[in-house]
Amino acid sequence: MIKTLSNNISFLRTMLYLSAFVILVVGALTYRSITEVTKSSEMVTHTYKVNVELEQILSNLKDAETGQRGFIITRDSVFLDSYTSGRSKINNSFAELKVLTRNDTLLNTNLIALNGLINKRLIAFQTSYSSLPKDDIDDPAFISNFRDGKYLMDSISVKIKSIVSLQNNILETRKNEYENDLMATPLLLFSLLLCSLVLMYVAYNNIYKNIKKLKATNEALEIFKESTNQSEIVSKHGSWTWNVKDNVFTFSDNLYRLVGEQPQSFKPTIENFLNYVHPEDVEQLSKQTEQMKENVELPYIYYRVVHKNGNIKHLKAYGKSLINEENDTVLLGTTADITDEIMSFRALEERNMELERNNKELSSFNYVASHDLQEPLRKIQTFLSRLEDEEAENLSSKGTKYIDRIQNAATRMRLLIDDLLQFSRSNKADKVIEESNINLLLEAAKQDLAEVISAENAEITSDTFPTIKVIPFQIQQLFINLLGNAIKYKAEGKTPKIVIKHKVVDAEDEENIVKPKKAFYHKITFTDNGIGFEEQYAEQIFTLFSRLHNKDEYSGTGIGLSICKKIVENHSGYITASGQPGKGAVFTVYLPID
């Protein structure tokens, strides 16, 4: 889920804004902390400065006192320098203190008191050497003055100490504040740095992964593009895109080749493309293009293009609309060169027409020939019969023999013509496949063979058939031919027994079914106890005019089984035969189930 989330662009954007917010907040706190540190540092410095000035005042007073003592002892005015300059130094210190204690009322009050004491001390200094007896340090007034001076000095020291002590308390507080601020600042700075580093690393990681992915995707895209180009060339396709909003087209390289030009040899616009379209198709294509603009869709369209060398190519185009990330509609289209297919189709059409014509002619020929041949044949047989009937006593034995032979030949010819006619009728064209009751068709076939069945006492047993989609009269003919053969080729001294079985089989389980078109088939087997045949002739017997026995042994034209094969093929089925000489034969018919 995290991976999915991290790939989500909205999530990434949110994380970016959140991170920026966190950094800004931490930065602001750090800035504030630094400002606090600066302020508390200034406050600490301020306190130190106040203390320094107070100590300075005390020091100046002590210097003045020392100077005073020196002067009293030595009477050397050089000792008065410190006294002389002491007042201005003290005033200078107070001038500093005034500015430093501008906002501190308590301190200001203390300083005023201190100033008063210092004034008194300075008066005492002055008194001690200006108004008292000279050279008489034992004078009580002198000693009293000195003592007063000492008391004043002590008071001043105590005052200064108390002020300094107050300041030190304040200093302690300020130092604590300063230290706290100082401690917080590097932590905040460090956390800011850490946040930034972490974000930078995450961003770098993400970017690196994305770049890697992008690179791989780009490489794959390049390969895909190249393979697409190649496949377009091989399959004679071209592709195009149309940005509906901006009315901008892009053509693939092969699309240019389809109109007989080099890739990117002209600006991809619809107007430039129409220059290559066949004049007869320009109007239609223009209309369809306009419709494409309105409906934002292009169903299959067909048109021709004319190359510069005069070659005409047939193209088929298709377009489908797509909404991109910017909510713009883009049409993606494919154009294929179907010239070869058109040519093949036309050739096929021609060939089909030719074949149809041939078939028609052949059918006509078959029919007409059979029909027309029958008439004279009938005449021959008729007059031969008449000859036999009316002129029999006038004919010699030779004549009668010849007439017999002519009659046999005529009969054989008739049979051949009948079979040929049947063969021509067994063409599938115009024959309707319908649901038919196979049992009825079998019965009809048996009816047709009733005479011969009765004559040979043939026994025919069959399963009950389901309804099957067949061409009824052809299946009936099939049954007639197979049953007729089974009776005709009966074994000597045996009553012909024909067993007809039916079942539904899976095409995959039947070896006889090669390349089945359907999954299941009706399997109808005709098993007889006739003379059989050798297995090697199993396929030959279905060939037109092919016979295993001559006409003297068994009558026939060699067309019957060919007709059966044609009928079964008309039904998209299969017919096979197997036999054992002297034992019988099995004919198997497979009819597909839809």
Binding site: N92, A95, K98, I112, N115, N119, L122, I123, Q126, S131
Partner: protein, 191 residues
């Protein structure tokens, strides 16, 4: 305007503009703060210097004032005429008041000022006109010096207290000067 139809670009554009603006503003603030900081430091130094000058001038004024008091006291000892004596007394009184005011201001302003004169005035044995004139001239020059110092203080200070003191002291000191000049002219005319 096509540029602004793309929401993302528009947001980015305004973000960049705001960031540039904020950066400029921050720099501006930093420079202003630094400049303010410098100005503040300068102002503080100037204030301290002013305080020191005020203290110095007040000390000098006070010293001269004490000298004037001392001189007027010694003048009272050597004059004969009652009127001159009274004038000298008035001068002394006026300058004692001035000294008091100086003390008040000095206390409030944390300035220590001398409360005694350090003038060594020798006993005048021969009280002649010349000696009197010399004493009066000394007084006059001290008073004039006071006026000069008051003027300097007026130029130096911006303090309301000092200004009020200057006004009061100026009047009184001018009166003293006039009185001294009267005494001198009296003395000269009587000779």
């Amino acid at each position: 305007m096509k540029f602004f139809t793309n929401r993302r670009l528009t947001v980015l554009f305004f973000f960049i503009v705001i960031m540039i603006g904020l950066s400029f503003n921050s720099c501006q603030e930093l420079i202003k703060n630094k400049s303010l900081e410098n100005k503040k430091t300068e102002a503080t130094k100037q204030e301290v210097k002013t305080n020191q000058n005020e203290a110095k001038l007040l000390v000098m004024l006070s010293k001269d004032n004490q000298d004037v008091i001392q001189l007027s006291k010694s003048l009272q000892k050597i004059v004969e005429k009652d009127t001159v004596f009274k004038l000298a007394k008035k001068i002394e009184k006026a300058h004692l008041e001035i000294a008091k005011e100086f003390n008040t201001v000095a206390t409030n302003k944390l300035i220590t000022i001398p409360n005694h004169s350090e003038l060594i005035i020798e006993e005048i044995t021969d009280i002649n006109r010349e000696a009197k004139l010399n004493a009066l001239n000394d007084l006059k020059s001290k008073i004039k010096n006071q006026l000069y110092l008051l003027n300097k203080l007026d130029e130096t200070t911006n303090s309301k207290e000092f200004k009020q003191l200057i006004v009061k002291a100026d009047t009184k000191i001018n009166e003293s000067l006039n009185k001294t000049k009267n005494i001198i002219s009296n003395l000269k005319s009587n000779s």
